[in-house]
């Protein structure tokens, strides 16, 4: 389906080189990461207890993940009691089969979908398309890349690699409309087309940001209103939820809502949160206004194995805010496509190898300078650099003799290429400063990454490193 589905996690080096040659892409990436990082910093100024919030969120997540069997069962029980129909999916294939069967049972041929990483992870659209019922993506950015047959380049703004002119050409080509490069005109066109889809849809598919164990409530967060449409207008709503999304208490939502939008887009809150507790069927004499059926698909797909791995467990604390992407010097330069997977950037570099298996994604843990910016900005304080090191260790240990040196050689070539690109770019001080921070971690780094030694001893570094590292220090590290 996608014109770029040939990309793979292990192809990172070549894909990164390709990305660096694409000026439109690299400029767009720089713009979006700069803007979100600036907005995030401004948003944090208004929250005096930011560090306490992060600690609280982390403590809640680490507790829940360590007892996920308990909280997941509690969540499923509460959701069922409130009228939701709960399905359990061990892997991607099972989840796709469940959603496909639901579409079949309800004779749903017109499906709408709001943005969801979990459904992208299981390639739900492709599976449903094979059965002849591909859902229409309704988030503006997702819709644009669906029309174009491309992959998202950023988890918050998926079509950010496309210029307005390219989007206009796409609309002219696919929708037969007059050309316009005004975002308001393009968005209005999308609104009209997608309204039609919403009005006719038989089934709506969404993701879930948080699932509350004590009440069985799911929370879906967004800005556009397409998730509200998707979860309100069709007769049937199917929500696909990674099992790690459970939190214990309804009141815990406040902490996560204070952290998530500020970390992601720098908004104090996104425009809409929908908190759904069972299907809105109404009471006698007062009709409900939502779907008659709410199906929850609880997706494992590798998560349970991460949850029982004491070292790697905190990977699952991620609330998908995107802050680590925006702060990462590698992601800022190469963008999301280079990672060859649904989850890009620092979180993708630790999550993808664990979900897809190291045999497919061993290159990703090496696609980082270990500068620590991701850890500094993460609202749940995930120690991504340490997890990257652990995965590197496992990648090297787990490989056939000879494979690891080859991998390292490829990575070495890539890092030099990246370095050359950075020193030519106007934002190079950020990378240099990031490299300077790397000095703290040298003993480990030296062992794993030969080129780093040269960088760290480079005479240019102390001078460059005097510039502040904008993305991380603001909130006092972790």
């Amino acid at each position: 389906m996608s014109g770029h589905s040939h990309r793979t996690p292990d192809g990172f080096a070549a894909q990164a080189r390709e990305a660096l040659g694409d000026r439109t892409l690299t400029q767009a990436m720089r713009r979006v990461t700069d803007l979100f990082a600036e907005r995030r910093a401004a948003a944090l100024e208004t929250v005096p207890d930011w560090q306490e919030l992060r600690q609280q969120a982390r403590a809640i997540k680490l507790h829940t993940l360590a007892r996920l069997d308990h909280y997941l069962a509690q969540f499923a029980g509460a959701a069922a009691k409130n009228g939701a129909i709960v399905h359990w999916a061990e892997d991607a294939a099972a989840a796709c089969r469940i959603v496909g069967e639901l579409a079949q049972v309800h004779r749903a041929t017109r499906l709408v979908k709001s943005k969801s990483m979990a459904t992208e992870e299981i390639h739900l659209n492709a599976a449903l398309a094979a059965a002849g019922t591909e859902p229409v993506e309704t988030d503006l950015g997702e819709w644009i890349i669906q029309l174009a047959g491309e992959m998202p380049s950023h988890i918050i703004v998926p079509a950010i690699h496309k210029t307005r002119q390219q989007i206009s050409e796409l609309f002219v080509d696919k929708l037969g409309v007059a050309p316009s490069d005004e975002p308001t005109v393009l968005a209005a066109e999308a609104r009209e087309r997608l309204r039609q889809h919403f009005a006719e849809a038989d089934m709506g598919i969404s993701g879930v940001n948080f699932g509350v164990a004590e009440t069985g409530t799911i929370l879906v967060l967004e800005n556009e209103g397409n998730a509200r449409m998707t979860t309100t207008l069709p007769k049937v709503h199917v929500a696909v939820m990674g099992i790690e999304k459970v939190i214990p208490r309804f009141a815990d939502l406040e902490v996560f809502l204070r952290l998530l939008p500020r970390s992601g887009t720098g908004q104090h809150l996104t425009s809409y949160q929908s908190l759904l507790t069972g299907p809105d069927v109404g009471v006698p004499g007062r009709a409900g206004q939502g779907p008659r059926e709410l199906h929850l698909v609880l997706l494992d797909n590798g998560r349970a194995n991460i949850a029982v791995d004491e070292t790697m467990r905190e990977t699952l604390a991620c609330i998908r805010c995107g802050a680590c992407l925006n702060a990462c010097p590698v992601y800022q330069s190469v963008g999301g496509h280079a990672y060859g997977a649904v989850y890009p950037g620092p979180i993708g570099a630790i999550l993808t190898p664990q979900l897809q298996g190291m045999h497919q994604a061993a290159a990703l843990p090496f696609a980082s300078s270990l500068c620590g910016a991701c850890k500094d900005v993460c609202p749940v304080q995930i120690d991504i650099p340490s997890l990257l090191l652990e995965l590197r260790k496992r990648a090297v240990e787990g490989e056939a003799p000879g494979a690891a040196p080859a991998k390292r050689a490829a990575f070495e070539a890539l890092t030099w290429k990246l370095w050359a690109w950075f020193v030519r770019s106007p934002g190079r001080y950020r990378f240099a400063a990031a490299m300077a921070r790397l000095g703290d971690k040298l003993p480990l780094v030296k062992r794993l990454l030969p080129p780093m030694r040269a960088w760290a001893s480079s005479r240019a570094l102390p001078r460059l490193a005097k510039r502040p590292f904008r993305a991380g220090h603001k909130d006092g590290g972790s």
Partner: protein, 215 residues
Amino acid sequence: MSARETILARLRQRAPDAPPPPPLPPVRSTALLEQPPFASRLAAFTAILAKLGTTVEHVADVATAARRTTELLAEHGARSLASSDHALVAAVTAQLPTDIERLAHDAPRDDLLRAEAGLSSAQWAVAETGTLVLVSADERHRLCTLLPDLHIAVVPASRLVATLGCAFARLQPDAAPAGQTITFVTGPSRTADIELTLVVGVHGPKALRVLVIDD
């Protein structure tokens, strides 16, 4: 084994030497903080929504709210109004000019889809974030606050709380009927998906207007 049992069994495969789970910390809520007076809450609510292009007006009574609603509808060129089933909304709509087409919360879906404006109340309004909190068990709000281009909310002054935590503390979903939907609304629908340029009203309302009514 069912998929449920398989997944739960996987989650129970902890190493025998695994450390005990870290404790669940007590709830951290802003509801416990000292609440500022109404005037400060209203000022904060108005200021933060102004940044999102949403106006907040403080009006003395239902008659004034009805007059302002009429004017807002005219300003936006809206001639049809979809309403929730809230008592305050009914009181306001009763005083609107008769040439405005009224669509009740249970009007046919196709009619609601073409409504030009929507009128709701809110169960809570949050000063700190500029958020309206709507609870379906108390008010059928899902369509009239979402489908039309213009959303007008008439909110009793007594419902304006300081923080998100205050709203959460009052929601108590475990005591609520099954099938309850709670919607948080903060400003109009928005997107920055095309070159990061802000566009309002991409799917939901293009404009939100709030009237805070003394009660």
